[in-house]
């Protein structure tokens, strides 16, 4: 298989991610531009963070001038699922050699879905295929991010209200998770605790207490939840 054929193969396999990331990335870029940042910032975030959910939340943290500690704790909670992906690929990537650090760094939900189900073209190293899937996905994401900033500054109509795309993204994930799982205690707990903390601590301070209570409550409920036998849960998070 020539290099050209190989890359064409990877591109065809990643077309669904290409479409999804272009739209999601553009949404992110428009929000970032609205918050007062440029193409450079979009590229920097796409390269170094490479996490859809956390980049959307990141725009909010940037716009509100959040502290570094708050930013770190929010990231820890929002991206806790990466621990899980990391665990799932410890074995899989063990022979990846020099490609391994990047494959671990760049693992997002979409790439994960392809990687667990596809070893790439026959007779070729699967690690090479997984590496290029990861790389192609990140390139789509970075280009989408930058494109969004450019589109945001050129739109002929008011972008007031475009920030709802972040809410809409989380709604679609939440609905998918609800539909795919029988165990709804974590979801109900997440919403309930957050609303109570919002009422007690107010909009600018509720996030950290909410996260602490959610994590503590989930650990406290570990036995009863596992006893209900509706686990394990399935994801449904686009990045």
């Amino acid at each position: 298989m020539s290099k050209r054929e190989y890359f064409k193969y990877v591109f065809i396999k990643t077309i669904p991610v290409f479409t999804g990331y272009t739209v999601l990335g553009i949404g992110f870029g428009i929000l970032l531009q609205k918050a007062g940042f440029g193409v450079g910032m979009a590229a920097l975030m796409g390269i170094t963070i490479f996490s859809g959910t956390m980049q959307y939340v990141g725009v909010d943290l940037l716009a509100g001038g959040a502290s570094l500690v708050t930013s770190a704790i929010v990231t820890l909670m929002v991206n806790a699922r990466y621990l899980f992906y990391g665990l799932a690929t410890v074995e899989k990537y063990k022979d990846a050699g020099w490609r391994r650090p990047y494959m671990i760094f760049g693992l997002v939900d979409e790439s994960y879905a392809i990687i667990v189900s596809d070893d790439g073209p026959e007779g070729e190293d699967p690690n090479k295929f997984w590496f290029y899937v990861t790389l192609f996905d990140q390139i789509y994401w970075i280009v989408g991010d930058m494109l969004g900033v450019l589109i945001g500054s050129a739109l002929p109509f008011s972008t007031e209200g475009v920030e709802f795309i972040m809410t809409a993204l989380f709604i679609t994930i939440f609905v998918d998770q609800w539909r795919d799982n029988k165990e709804h205690i974590p979801a109900v707990l997440g919403v309930g605790v957050s609303v109570v903390c919002l009422l007690i601590f107010g909009p600018s301070n509720f996030l950290i207490p909410a996260m602490i209570v959610i994590a503590a409550a989930l650990l406290f409920l570990k036995k009863p939840i596992e006893k209900r036998g509706k686990m394990p849960l399935k994801g449904g998070d686009p990045s």
């Binding site: 999601l24 007062g36 930013s71 991206n79 809409a168 993204l169 709604i171 979801a187 996260m211």
Partner: protein, 108 residues
């Protein structure tokens, strides 16, 4: 608008914690049994946190003043129903956002 240094600090904090989470299992759990509570949290936390993020997104909605969060409520319902019906995330997101923009710019 925050300073460039502060902005870069926030990006660095997010990037470092994300990378740490991705590398942690490979560095720590290689060839060792993973603690049950870590597996459990990795399983249930994303689900709970998505609920929290929804509240976070809607935290500034003015309920007590006109239009009493009505544009948000309508746009949320449209997004939920569309996602239940068509199961197409991109479609739900784009239509939900368009509905919200039209509501706050032209209707309310």
């Amino acid at each position: 608008m925050i300073t460039t240094t502060h902005a870069l600090g926030i990006v660095a904090a997010i990037a470092l914690v994300s990378a740490a989470l991705r590398f942690f299992p490979a560095l720590v759990f290689r060839g060792r049994e993973t603690p049950q509570s870590i597996i459990y949290l990795g399983d249930v936390l994303p689900y709970a946190i998505m609920g929290m993020l929804l509240v976070y997104c809607l935290k500034a909605t003015p309920i007590l003043e006109a239009p009493h969060g009505l544009p948000e409520l309508i746009a949320v319902l449209v997004t939920v129903l569309l996602q239940l019906w068509r199961k197409n995330s991109l479609l739900s997101m784009v239509v939900g956002t368009a509905v919200y923009m039209v509501l706050i710019q032209l209707v309310f």
